[in-house]
């Protein structure tokens, strides 16, 4: 019953696992600045990055391209590869928090903005600092809650 991992048509794209981790470090910095300055435009920019990561994959975001073109050529060791779906799921969660934050900022709900950016920052920081697996901890709970 290992088709969830091994079926080629299900898991067909593998990327350098260090790419999303690098992206999480930049995301953490950007969201920290957005939180401190309460700046909705910074969050909007990060939201667009999340949208690319959620729809196309983290390897196509600006952070992914910086990693591919400037960081990876300077790394001597070949890195471990990983299935693109777990980081893509994490980008989707980030997009959801960013969307809530952007809507609240433009409607004047400052507290909701702060809480939404706080959650997105917390998740990005956990990923950057602890290699946290958002899909491992959240996905099954979401499925359990949303389906019968």
């Amino acid at each position: 019953m290992s088709e969830v991992l091994d079926k080629p048509e299900v898991a067909r794209i593998y990327i350098d696992a260090r790419g999303p981790r690098f992206g999480a470090v930049i995301t953490t910095t950007v969201l920290a600045v957005a939180l401190v300055t309460q700046n909705k435009w910074i969050l909007l920019a990060q939201g667009l990055v999340f949208a690319i990561g959620a729809l196309r994959g983290p390897q196509f975001t600006p952070y992914g391209l910086i990693f591919k073109n400037f960081i990876k050529p300077r790394l001597s060791q070949p890195g471990p590869t990983e299935d693109v779906r777990p980081p893509k799921f994490a980008q989707t969660v980030g997009l959801a928090f960013a969307a809530v934050g952007i809507i609240s900022a433009f409607t004047g709900a400052d507290l909701v903005f702060t809480v939404a950016v706080g959650f997105a920052l917390g998740a990005a920081f956990l990923n950057a600092a602890f290699n946290y697996c958002l899909g491992c901890e959240m996905y099954l709970l979401l499925v359990r809650l949303t389906s019968k």
């Binding site: 309460q38 996905y139 499925v143």
Partner: protein
């Protein structure tokens, strides 16, 4: 308007949770089991091991599931009385709810009768698995 308080709160809470998460992943707990639940070959779709069975629940959005699968399937190659059964959590939600599985990978250790004797959330270390299996007579 600059405010550092939310940043400090978020980083403090996330760090505390992160350290707990890092330490608890992979640890095999014997006290959190759902009591009295017996897993049979009919439910699992495969025969149980003659001494022990490790039932691993995985999902698609989970990178450590792959590492766990590689470790456990490699370990049972030299343990003829232990079996590793791999289950896609999403397509077995009823079982997932019965066993109260909240994250992936979760590995449930069964004795010869299909009774849960321990479970690990996250990828366990090889030594932790050996210890857990040795405790199952």
């Amino acid at each position: 308007m600059k405010t550092y308080l939310p940043l400090v709160v978020v980083l403090a809470l996330a760090s505390a949770y992160g350290f707990w998460w890092k330490l608890s992943r992979g640890a095999i707990r014997t006290n959190k089991s759902v009591p009295g639940h017996r897993l049979s070959p009919a439910v699992l779709g495969q025969d149980l091991g003659s001494r022990a069975t490790m039932v691993q629940f995985s999902s698609a959005f989970c990178a450590p599931c792959r590492a766990t699968h590689a470790l456990l399937s490699q370990m049972v190659e030299s343990l003829p009385d232990v079996r590793h059964i791999h289950i896609d959590a999403e397509s077995h939600l009823e079982l997932v709810r019965e066993l109260d599985i909240r994250s992936t990978p979760t590995t449930i250790f069964l004795n010869r009768d299909g009774i849960e004797v321990g479970r690990a959330a996250g990828t366990p270390k090889r030594e932790q698995v050996i210890t857990a299996l040795n405790a199952i007579a």
